[in-house]
C-alpha cells in the first residue's frame, strides 16, 4: 500500500492560515492504515488548527470529512455538499487524493497535509519499508521475489555493487543490501543459476520515464 507521513504542524498551519473556512479531509484507505491521514488524524489536525487560530485571536471554522477514499470520484461526490462552503480543503490523502480533490473542487484551494512516501509494507508498529517503485515491468520472478529496482540504492540488475558489506548497503547500515537478500533467497529456493544470467539494459518506458502513465482496460468499461 501507499505509505505516507504527516507534514509538520508548522507547515500545515502556514498553508491554511489565509483561510477562514477550512475542511480537513481524511482518506479511508492506505493513509488510514499507516496512520498518516485517516479520520483520526484528520480530527486531531482540525483541533490543532482551531487551537492555533484561537491562540492568535483568529476566527476559523474547521470541518472534518473522511471519504471512503479520495482516489475515486464517486466517494468525492458523497462529500460534495459537506464541502460546498469551505474556502480551503486540507487533504490528508496521498498525492493522488489531493489532486483528485482539486479536480473535484476546481474553485477551491486544496493543500496537502501529508507527504506521500512510497509503496511499501508494515514491518512492525510504526515501521514501514519501501518495496515497489511501480516501474511497470515486474521482474520479481528473476530475483527471488526481492525487488532490485526499489530495494537496491542503485537499482542494479546484475548483482551488488562493491559497496555491499556484511549484508548492508553502502548508504547506511540500516539499509539491507537487496542483492545479498536476492542471493540468499535464490540459494534457498535452488535458483542460484539465475545470478549468472546477464540482465540486459531494461526498457524504462513502462516506468515514469515514458511520461505520465495511464491504464485503459476495455474489459472493465461499461
Amino acid at each position: 500500500m501507499i505509505i505516507a507521513a504527516q507534514k509538520s504542524m508548522d507547515e500545515i498551519l502556514r498553508s491554511v492560515k489565509p483561510f477562514e473556512k477550512i475542511a480537513v479531509a481524511g482518506c479511508g484507505t492506505c493513509v488510514t492504515v499507516c496512520m498518516a491521514g485517516g479520520e483520526k488524524e484528520a480530527l486531531k489536525v482540525a483541533d490543532l488548527i482551531l487551537l492555533d487560530a484561537r491562540a492568535f485571536g483568529r476566527k476559523v471554522e474547521v470541518n472534518v470529512t473522511s471519504p471512503v477514499r479520495q482516489c475515486d470520484m464517486e466517494f468525492l461526490d458523497d462529500v460534495e455538499d459537506e464541502l460546498a462552503d469551505v474556502d480551503c480543503i486540507l487533504s490528508l490523502g496521498c498525492g493522488a487524493g489531493v489532486q483528485f480533490m482539486a479536480e473535484k473542487f476546481p474553485d477551491k484551494v486544496v493543500v496537502p497535509g501529508i507527504n506521500t512516501s512510497f509503496i511499501g509494507v508494515n514491518r512492525d508498529l510504526g515501521y514501514w519499508t519501501e518495496m515497489c517503485q511501480g516501474c511497470g515491468n515486474c521482474i520479481l520472478e528473476k530475483t527471488g521475489g526481492i525487488c532490485p529496482v526499489s530495494r537496491c540504492s542503485k537499482s542494479h540488475f546484475n548483482g551488488p555493487c562493491g559497496g555491499s558489506h556484511t549484508g548492508k548497503c553502502e548508504i547506511n547500515d540500516e539499509t539491507e543490501c537487496a542483492w545479498q537478500l536476492i542471493y540468499e533467497r535464490l540459494k534457498r529456493i535452488g535458483q542460484l543459476d539465475r545470478l549468472y544470467e546477464i540482465n540486459e539494459a531494461r526498457d524504462w518506458s513502462t516506468s515514469r520515464d515514458g511520461g505520465p502513465r495511464r491504464l485503459v482496460r476495455g474489459d472493465v468499461k461499461v
Partner: protein, 316 residues
C-alpha cells in the same frame, strides 16, 4: 581538423592494452581531477607520471564530489604523455549520455574506459541530487561491447564508424558474500571487461583466497587482473582507509603505522608497507599488474614504482 589529424587519432591505441598484451606486468596509477577548472593541476599530475606508469585512471567525480570531468582531464593527461583510463560511472549518466560521451572520448584519442557503478551521491557534497542508474555496470559493459564489436548502439541503431576501447571495470575481493562477488565478476567479464582493477588490497590472505576462486573459474585468463594498492602517509590516513566500507586493513599494518614517530617516519613506513604488499602481490598467479592509488600523495608514485623495481617501463 585535416584528414591527417583524424587518421592519427584513429590510429591511437591504448598503451595499457599493448603493455598487457605483450605479456608485461603493468603499472598504473591515478590522476584525481581537481575541484576546479585548473588545467595546470592535471598537467602537473600527469607530468610526474610520464615514463613511470603505463596508464593512469582519471576518476569520475569520485565519492560523488564534483570535479573536473574525467574525459576533459583524460585529454589533458594524454596530451602530456600519460595514457589515461577514462572512468565512467552509471550514477550520473543514462545510456544516451554514456554512449555520447564515449564517442567524444574516442574522437579525442582516449582509448581506455573503466566502467563503475559510482559511489552513491549520499557520500558526496551534493546529497540532494537525483541519481540516474539507467543501466548498471554489467549492462554498460555489455552495451559498449556490442557498440564496438557489432557497431550497434544500445538502441539497436547502427554506429557509422567503428570505435575501439580497452574496456575495464573494478572488483572488490573483500566484499561479501564471496560467491556472489565472484559470480558478478564473471558476469562483468562475460559482458566485455578486458581488465579488472581491484579495490585496495591490504589483507593478503583474503586476497589470495579470492584469487584461488578467480583461478578456479579461469577468470584470470579471460581478463587482466590488476591488483590495487593504496599508499598511506600517516596513521590518520590508514585509519581512515580502514573505516571505508568494503575495505579490509589488518590491525598489524595499522600498528606498523602507529609505531612510527613524526611525519617522515610515518611516510617511510607507508611506502615500506606498499612495497611489501607489491612484492607479494606480483607473485600471486593471475595478477597481471599493479594499480597504485596514492590518494592525496600522487608525488610518491615514482618512488614506489622505482623501489619496486618496475623501471624502466616497457615501450610497446
Amino acid at each position: 581538423m585535416g584528414n591527417e589529424t583524424n587518421k592519427e587519432i584513429v590510429n591511437i591505441r591504448s598503451n595499457l592494452q599493448k603493455v598487457l598484451e605483450a605479456g608485461n606486468f603493468s603499472v598504473s596509477a591515478e590522476i584525481g581531477p581537481p575541484m576546479s577548472g585548473d588545467a595546470q593541476n592535471v598537467i602537473d599530475k600527469a607530468r610526474h607520471l610520464v615514463g613511470i606508469v603505463d596508464a593512469a585512471n582519471v576518476t569520475d567525480n569520485q565519492t560523488a564530489i564534483v570535479r573536473m570531468s574525467s574525459i576533459a582531464a583524460s585529454y589533458l593527461s594524454l596530451q602530456n604523455g600519460v595514457d589515461p583510463v577514462v572512468q565512467m560511472t552509471c550514477r550520473d549518466r543514462n545510456r544516451i549520455a554514456i554512449q555520447s560521451d564515449l564517442l567524444g572520448a574516442y574522437a579525442l584519442g582516449l582509448r581506455n574506459v573503466l566502467i563503475l557503478s559510482g559511489d552513491h551521491q549520499s557520500f558526496g557534497n551534493h546529497k540532494q541530487s537525483k541519481n540516474v542508474f539507467d543501466i548498471d555496470s554489467v549492462q554498460a559493459l555489455h552495451g559498449l561491447t556490442k557498440l564496438m564489436k557489432e557497431n550497434i548502439f544500445m538502441s539497436g541503431s547502427p554506429l557509422k564508424a567503428p570505435i575501439e576501447f580497452f574496456l575495464g571495470t573494478t572488483a572488490n575481493p573483500f566484499a561479501d558474500p564471496e560467491e556472489l562477488q565472484i559470480i558478478r565478476l564473471e558476469k562483468k567479464i562475460r559482458a566485455g571487461a578486458r581488465f579488472i582493477q581491484t579495490q585496495a588490497i591490504y589483507n593478503l590472505d583474503r586476497f589470495k583466497s579470492w584469487m584461488e576462486h578467480v583461478r578456479e573459474r579461469g577468470l584470470h585468463k579471460e581478463a587482466y587482473l590488476l591488483a590495487g594498492i593504496v599508499v598511506n602517509r600517516s596513521v590518520r590516513s590508514i585509519e581512515a582507509t580502514a573505516g571505508v566500507p568494503g575495505m579490509d586493513v589488518p590491525l598489524s599494518l595499522i600498528e606498523r603505522m602507529r609505531a612510527t614517530k613524526g611525519k617522515e617516519e610515518a611516510e617511510a613506513e607507508g611506502v615500506a608497507i606498499a612495497l611489501d604488499l607489491i612484492k607479494e602481490l606480483k607473485e600471486v598467479e593471475g595478477v597481471a599488474g599493479i594499480h597504485i592509488m596514492a590518494i592525496g600523495w600522487e608525488a610518491i608514485v615514482p618512488t614506489i614504482v622505482e623501489k619496486a623495481g618496475f623501471l624502466p617501463r616497457p615501450k610497446v
